[in-house]
């Protein structure tokens, strides 16, 4: 069983929903990323999404664009990101790590080489934003060969036929993009997201994560009542940007914010159980 599968199975047993924070590797500095990863886990993260910086992040809003720019100014390459994961694994062998980014840095390295190095480093899966399943067979095969999961996005615009095709190719979990827009945008319609998730579950038994636009403990808590995982990116990265020059403050801020997300989600889970218990 892959680390991601094990983690979701374990969470299900404990009645806990997965919290997946996102940070961009190398932001604001290369040497702080591994420390931040450990802090995220200590504060309540179940899986980690590590952004691979790219010069042209077309699906990202300004917050993550700027994070990418800061990381690139620091010279953060894909190989550096893999080295960070290897370093993280020295102290944490259980928390799944997913790389999220764009195809071109992986193309430049070569699919087989990337899959090999990622697996050695202890990466568990890859989410390549601009690689739809139609173009993805080759990379998926290379990742599979190394036992890595391919995480796919589903969008509000995905048709039933596409959802089925993507569900058939995906492994680990599926990531539902909760709005038509870029990362960090606002105006989530949670009842619509809930309905969409219900219809996606008809196509797949994979755990379903939700992300894009989840920026507060309250929204995270509500989403966690119908999703298996909650992804929070821009709201965390914004806090990193704000205290760019003081690492200590960043660490404290992330502890507080991720801790609050965790607590809100756990409270929601308890309330949910109680409600169900009452009805039963």
């Amino acid at each position: 069983m892959s680390r991601i599968e094990t983690r979701f199975a374990d969470l299900k047993q404990r009645g806990r929903k997965a919290l997946i924070p996102f940070i961009t590797a190398g932001d604001p500095a290369k040497d702080i990323t591994v420390t931040l990863m450990h802090i995220l886990v200590q504060s309540g993260a179940d899986l980690l999404e590590l952004g691979v910086p790219f010069s042209d992040p077309m699906a990202d809003g300004p917050v993550i664009q700027h994070a990418s720019e800061r990381a690139l100014v620091n010279g953060t390459s894909l190989k550096d990101v893999l080295a960070m994961v290897a370093e993280f694994r020295k102290k944490d062998n259980d928390t799944p790590v997913i790389l999220m980014g764009y195809l071109n840095p992986i193309e430049a390295l070569g699919y087989a080489e990337f899959a090999d190095l990622a697996s050695q480093a202890g990466v568990d899966g890859a989410l390549t934003v601009d690689l739809p399943p139609e173009e993805g067979q080759e990379l998926v095969a290379a990742l599979q060969q190394q036992g890595l999961d391919t995480i796919y996005l589903l969008a509000p615009t995905s048709t039933a036929e596409r959802i089925q095709r993507i569900a058939d190719m995906a492994s680990g979990f599926l990531y539902y993009v909760s709005l038509k827009g870029v990362t960090g945008a606002g105006n989530l319609d949670l009842s619509e997201v809930r309905q969409r998730l219900d219809s996606i579950r008809r196509h797949t038994g994979l755990p379903l994560g939700v992300g894009f636009g989840i920026n507060s403990p309250e929204i995270a808590a509500e989403v966690s009542t119908f999703a298996d995982a909650v992804v929070v990116g821009s709201a965390i990265v914004k806090r990193i940007a704000e205290y760019e020059s003081s690492p200590d403050v960043i660490m404290k801020e992330l502890q507080t914010f991720v801790g609050a997300l965790r607590q809100a989600m756990d409270t929601a889970a308890v309330n949910d159980k109680q409600t169900c218990g009452g009805q039963g």
Binding site: S55, M58, E69, A108, V129, E135, S158, K180
Partner: protein, 399 residues
């Protein structure tokens, strides 16, 4: 070469092209493909397009024998395809007229576009004004400074010009921002891409709209000389004017195709915009093609005197034509382009765009080596009025 029928149904030209976009855009791209396939066969759509091209754009554009330039070079006979005489002053409008008619039929009242030099932005704002559509143009802040007159033209035409501050603040970043807008407004918005790049069907669709350039050239030369040209020359940024000229001649093996990229400060300096001459294969803006990138796969900033060629990628069909050896690609640096700008202005009384000046510069070199009884056609893709300030500043003159 057998009859040319690319791209395949998924938008591939060999290994190039394809659809590399985020999931949210897959549905709108699919919807666009279906609409394009439908309307390109539709006689009513074609008739409306032909009417607009004739009476609004002013086609056909002349095929002009450049007698004095031919004499000066002392080589082959040089013809200029005068796309500079189109409405708005460049070939760009051939495509925006087509895409706007498509948008109208698809029920999308809002047009968005990216622009570098401003020509495509102006061409989009122009058709939007005529059809009463909303228009938003994304433009890098660097380019807004370089092309103040075109920015004002777009505003006069009723378009909103959105400054793009991210990345290198030029054309590629404007394209990123337009994609982000599209993701957020897929229901009512049509993205008018200005070149033969982007996810399928854009490279094929833009080529088809621009192919009027080559079709006319073929017919006009038949009337004037009774035969096919021996060589075609066009500048290549994204490559839409070149694809438009080349496409109707791809099956004519005797016709040489020459694409001319921007060598900027010189290919050897690395400060250029010539991915076909000195780039690597990668994926950007929805398609696989040649790119200017670092070893790590990060896109690098390009340099050219001409904002319209200042782009790190190139249309995937050009990448394929290069690998197949059907077209050959060279590069002309800033200095050579500027020299050709002055030469053509003084000797023919035609002020070319700095983009087109790259094609003229290469044509002068090539024509000198070709026999006098051969025929060359150079695509004069745009007029140079927009570049007057740049050229004056380089000459130390303040206007």
């Amino acid at each position: 070469m057998s009859a040319y029928a690319l791209p395949d149904e998924r938008g591939h030209f060999g290994v190039y092209g394809g659809v590399f976009v985020a999931e949210t855009l897959m549905q709108p791209v699919t919807e666009l493909l279906a609409a394009y396939e439908k309307y390109k066969q539709d006689p009513e759509f074609q008739a409306e397009l032909d009417r607009d091209l004739a009476y609004y754009v002013g086609r056909p554009s002349p095929l002009y024998f450049a007698e004095r330039l031919t004499q000066l070079v002392g080589g082959t006979r040089i013809y200029l395809k005068r796309e500079d005489l189109n409405h708005t002053g460049a070939h760009k409008i051939n495509n925006t007229v087509g895409q706007a008619l498509l948008a109208k039929r698809m029920g999308k009242p809002r047009l968005i576009a990216e622009t570098g030099a401003g020509q495509h932005g102006v061409a989009t704002a122009t058709v939007a004004a005529r059809l009463g559509m909303e228009c938003v143009v994304y433009m890098g802040t660097e380019d807004i400074q370089r092309q103040a007159i075109n920015v004002y033209r777009m505003k006069l035409l009723g378009a909103e010009v959105v400054p793009v501050e991210s990345g290198s603040k030029t054309l590629k970043d404007a394209l990123n921002e337009a994609m982000r807008d599209w993701v957020a407004h897929v229901d009512n918005t049509f993205y008018v891409i200005g070149t033969v790049a982007g996810p399928h069907p854009y490279p094929a669709m833009v080529r088809d709209f621009q192919a009027i350039i080559g079709h006319e050239t073929r017919q006009q030369l038949q009337q004037l000389e009774g035969r096919l040209p021996d060589a075609l020359v066009a500048c290549v940024g994204g490559g839409s004017n070149a694809m438009g000229l080349f496409y109707p001649f791809l099956n004519d093996a005797s016709v040489e195709l020459h694409g001319v990229e921007a060598a900027g400060d010189g290919l050897e300096t690395g400060h250029h915009a010539a991915p076909l001459c000195d780039g690597d294969v990668g994926v950007l803006h929805g398609n696989r093609t040649y790119l200017m990138e670092t070893e790590d796969g990060q896109i690098i900033e390009t340099h050219s005197i001409s904002a319209g060629l200042d782009y790190p990628g190139v249309g995937p069909e050009h990448a394929w034509l290069k690998d197949e050896g059907r077209a050959s690609y060279s590069a002309i640096d800033d200095k050579e382009a500027l020299e050709a700008f002055h030469t053509l202005t003084r000797i023919e009384g035609i002020i070319p765009a700095l983009e087109s000046s790259h094609a003229v510069a290469y044509a002068i070199k090539l024509a000198a080596k070709m026999p006098k009884d051969k025929i060359m056609v150079v695509n004069l893709s745009g007029r140079g009025d927009k570049d007057i300030h740049t050229v004056a500043a380089l000459g130390g003159i303040k206007l």
